[in-house]
């Protein structure tokens, strides 16, 4: 059932960055798409490391009912601790001291539709020169360190892909900071052709600067600002292998629909 909330506000939460100007862009892009659809009275973004911050957002929102969707990749420290604390949430639905009703939805990264989105993202990068059944798909995440739950989210996606009719030779998970390491992609993937999709929200430090070095695309981290160079030259020929490297899954325009889907999911599970 299509989501129509003409009296409610939608608040999209992002991490943001004090160092990388591209980090918050997907949130703004998805907000603009959803706002243009007219399905909510207003659409807002708030960030942990940028403005408006989670603490600054309330005076900007004039609706009584607010759906809050974390544009985060996994359940974990941020979605369970930082966001509820900063927004003073007490459960799935919170009634604020000013009478406003806040509905706290699941993060986008754990929505079931992300599985199909990963396949779509990988397929649309290919130019038809190699059939997908001769290509390994590697989903890359952060792994332990900043967010231990991110690996769980990726393992769940890879399991779901393997359980379904996936067109690729194999589907693998790999991480920046825990085994299997993305830097070992040549050994992990048995096929000569490999497509890599970073399971990140934005093309920030990790997917734009760190992982390309680990893959051997770049010899050292590049400047942040522009993402164009890293993603323009697909496929790459590295050590006799053919490699396609995608921008972060969170930059896909379809994420706007996943954000709205999480509102529908909330209503189905908490307000039915």
């Amino acid at each position: 059932m299509p989501v129509s909330k003409p009296d409610s506000a939608l608040l999209i939460l992002g991490h943001g960055s004090t160092e990388n100007p591209d980090s918050s862009q997907p949130c703004w892009d998805h907000a603009e798409t959803i706002a243009a659809s007219g399905r909510f009275a207003s659409v807002h973004c708030a960030f942990w490391k940028e403005e408006p911050s989670f603490r600054q957002i309330w005076p900007m929102i004039e609706e009584r009912e607010v759906y809050i969707v974390p544009n985060f990749i996994s359940e974990g420290y941020f979605t369970r601790e930082v966001l509820p604390r900063e927004l003073e949430l007490t459960g799935p639905t919170t009634v604020r001291h000013d009478g406003r009703v806040l509905h706290y939805c699941d993060p986008v990264g754990i929505h079931p539709s992300m599985t199909g989105l990963l396949t779509k993202r990988a397929l649309e990068m290919l130019d038809g020169s190699v059939p997908p059944e001769e290509i390994s798909l590697i989903i890359v995440g952060h792994g332990t360190g900043l967010n231990q739950k991110s690996a769980e989210a990726i393992k769940a996606q890879v399991d779901a892909l393997r359980a379904g009719p996936v067109p690729f030779a194999r589907v693998l998970d790999a991480y920046m900071e825990e085994p299997p390491f993305v830097a070992d992609w040549r050994r992990l993937a048995e096929t000569p052709n490999v497509v890599v999709v970073p399971f990140f929200i934005a093309d920030g430090l990790h997917s734009y600067q760190d992982i390309p070095v680990m893959l051997g695309i770049e010899s050292e981290p590049t400047e942040a600002a522009s993402q164009r160079e890293v993603f323009r030259h697909n496929p790459r020929h590295i050590d006799g292998r053919v490699l396609w490297y995608s921008s972060a899954i969170g930059t896909d325009p379809s994420l706007a629909e996943v954000i709205v889907d999480q509102v529908a999911h909330f209503d189905a599970h908490h307000r039915a």
Partner: protein, 205 residues
């Protein structure tokens, strides 16, 4: 629409307001315009016309030398542009692209709907890598305000150090919209953490 109506009323036709580094004007025919205060006397034809929220957000993202501006109230907004619209709602959205939520915060504070949050309350609720920030002493807190906030941000600090001190008074003005700082931001929390680490290192040596 209440916020847009408030902006509409605060900036009636034929008036002007200073808003941080911005000069806001309302022509007699009702058109809203914003430009950098440094461009007050510039011929409109010599200024680049920015006509969307997205263009203004992109403008506010970088300083004149191309450096990233994560703090939108840093005194480094680029000039050489102007933006105009007839709609108070669209004008507010464009102002929010430059100074996110600052107008709304002022309206809410003036109406008594929100209070300043003492620094200690902000620091004490931090967890993870920022938990240490809450250990700074009052001297370090004063240093944070003087060294980080003072030169680096145009906001006027309203928050006191702790619950025992009153918030700084904010006098109502008719010719400007104040950029209030009602709670220490992520930069202040990060700096508090650094100061706490320095203090800990000094104590250990």
């Amino acid at each position: 629409m209440i916020l847009a109506d408030t902006l509409d009323a605060r900036l009636p036709p034929g008036s002007r307001l200073v808003f941080g580094e911005l000069l806001l004007t309302r022509r007699h025919d009702g058109l809203f315009e914003a430009r950098h205060g440094d461009d007050t006397a510039a011929d409109s034809g010599n200024l680049e016309c920015l006509s969307s929220v997205g263009e203004l957000r992109e403008l506010a993202k970088y300083d004149a030398s191309g450096g990233y501006r994560p703090l939108k109230t840093a005194p480094t907004l680029k000039g050489g542009w102007r933006t105009e619209t007839e709609s108070p709602q669209e004008f507010l959205a464009r102002l929010d692209a430059v100074y996110p939520g600052v107008f709304a915060a002022w309206v809410a504070y003036e109406a008594g709907r929100i209070d300043a949050v003492p620094l200690r309350r902000t620091l004490d609720r931090q967890t993870g890598m920022y938990r240490l920030a809450g250990t700074i002493d009052d001297a370090a807190a004063a240093r944070l305000r003087a060294e980080l906030c003072g030169p680096g941000c145009l906001r006027r600090i309203v928050w006191p150090i702790d619950d025992t001190s009153p918030p700084a008074p904010v006098e109502p003005t008719t010719d400007s919209i104040p950029l209030l700082c009602l709670e220490a931001c992520t930069f202040a929390v990060s700096r508090a953490r650094e100061l706490a680490k320095e203090a800990r290192a000094r104590a250990a040596s």
